[in-house]
């Protein structure tokens, strides 16, 4: 966990790339596609955060390994 900052940075980078290409795929025009990136990124981060929280919860309860 010492390098959590690096992992967060890498997560942000890969998230921006995924969101950018996904925006281009779903929007035919460049300008609207670029404009939707911030909103999509926030949704992506929140969704991943919920998923991570569920995984941590499962790890510490039903899927815990001693």
């Amino acid at each position: 966990m010492n390098d959590i900052g690096v992992h967060m940075l890498l997560f942000a980078l890969i998230g921006i790339g995924i969101i950018a290409i996904a925006s281009f795929y779903s929007e035919p025009a460049d300008r609207p596609a670029l404009r939707t990136i911030p909103r999509r990124f926030v949704v992506f981060v929140i969704g991943c955060g919920i998923l991570a929280a569920l995984m941590i919860l499962a790890e510490s309860t039903v899927a815990g390994v001693n």
Binding site: D3, L13, G17, A20, I21, F24, Y25, D30
Partner: protein, 278 residues
């Protein structure tokens, strides 16, 4: 005036694409273009067989024992040439039950078998579109399959050739940037199919950036733990997988533009050139 009835295509697009997937060129033979089909068959299988010869049929022996199963090749680029991969599995499978040295040219050989698979995927796109073109007409715009092929070789090139240059440049920056960053994080350990069989399949989709890096820095020895190797593998593979979304974007626009550009096959070339320039 009654609207002109829609003209039927040359065949069923799904049948044409699936036939090409099963046997390279078969889709075009089905569409009445036997010479194109024969050339496609010879090119795809020529590259594939050259790859098999150079790798001595050991491509799937890269897989660790616990990952070996009859359906293991489904996640490899070779699956784009289904008859080839079935033949390869029947003829060579996973090799003998003991380890043996790799032939010197195995990396080039397995690269060629993977290339043949994705090349046939582009031909399947091509056949799918050709089936939708009515008889007696031809598009003046490039085939979607050709632009998808361009977008595979150089990420963003398909967009660039469509005139969508900003988008093409951004696709290139994301895909090539991810492969480059992944390679840096993994210290080049990602550039080896033997070491990371399925991750390699993902980054292979990124085209020339991944291939050039593999030639320059691939297949090196790993002498110590690589701290961010997992992140590096993820970046490089995600870069390749994101290129698939870029191809789908290219294909959709190319298909629409090509179907809107149909002209009679008998139209003189000079007139066609003038029209396309306008």
């Amino acid at each position: 005036m009654a609207p002109e009835p829609a003209r039927e295509g040359r065949g069923n697009p799904n049948v044409a694409a699936i036939l090409t997937w099963l046997i390279p060129g078969a889709g075009h033979v089905y569409l009445g273009r036997p010479i194109f089909g024969l050339v496609a068959f010879l090119v795809v299988n020529g590259i594939f067989l050259l790859g098999v010869r150079l790798s001595q049929g050991m491509a799937f022996e890269f897989l660790q024992t616990d990952l070996r199963s009859p359906i293991a090749p489904i996640l490899t680029p070779e699956v784009g040439n289904l008859s080839g991969v079935i033949w390869h599995m029947r003829e060579y499978g996973f090799g003998p039950p003991f380890p043996r040295p790799w032939p010197p040219s195995i990396d080039l050989g397995t690269w060629l078998t993977a290339f043949a698979g994705l090349l046939n995927g582009c031909l399947a796109c091509w056949a799918h579109f050709d089936a939708r073109v009515p008889k007696g007409l031809r598009p003046t715009r490039p085939s979607p399959g050709l632009l998808v092929f361009a977008g595979w070789i150089v990420p963003g090139l398909g967009h660039w050739l469509q005139g969508r240059r900003v988008r093409g440049a951004l696709v290139f920056a994301v895909v090539a940037g991810f492969v480059l960053l992944g390679t840096w994080l993994a210290e080049g350990a990602n550039l080896d199919r033997e070491r990371h069989f399925y991750y390699w399949s993902g980054q292979f989709l990124a085209g020339a950036p991944a291939w050039i890096l593999e030639v320059l820095h691939g297949h090196g020895l790993v002498r110590s733990d690589i701290r961010y190797v997992d992140a590096g593998l993820a970046f490089a593979a995600v870069g390749g997988l994101l290129n698939i979304l870029a191809w789908l974007d290219v294909y959709g626009v190319a298909e629409r533009e090509a179907l809107e550009s149909l002209v009679p096959e008998t139209e003189p070339a000079v007139v066609r050139a003038g029209e396309s320039a306008a």
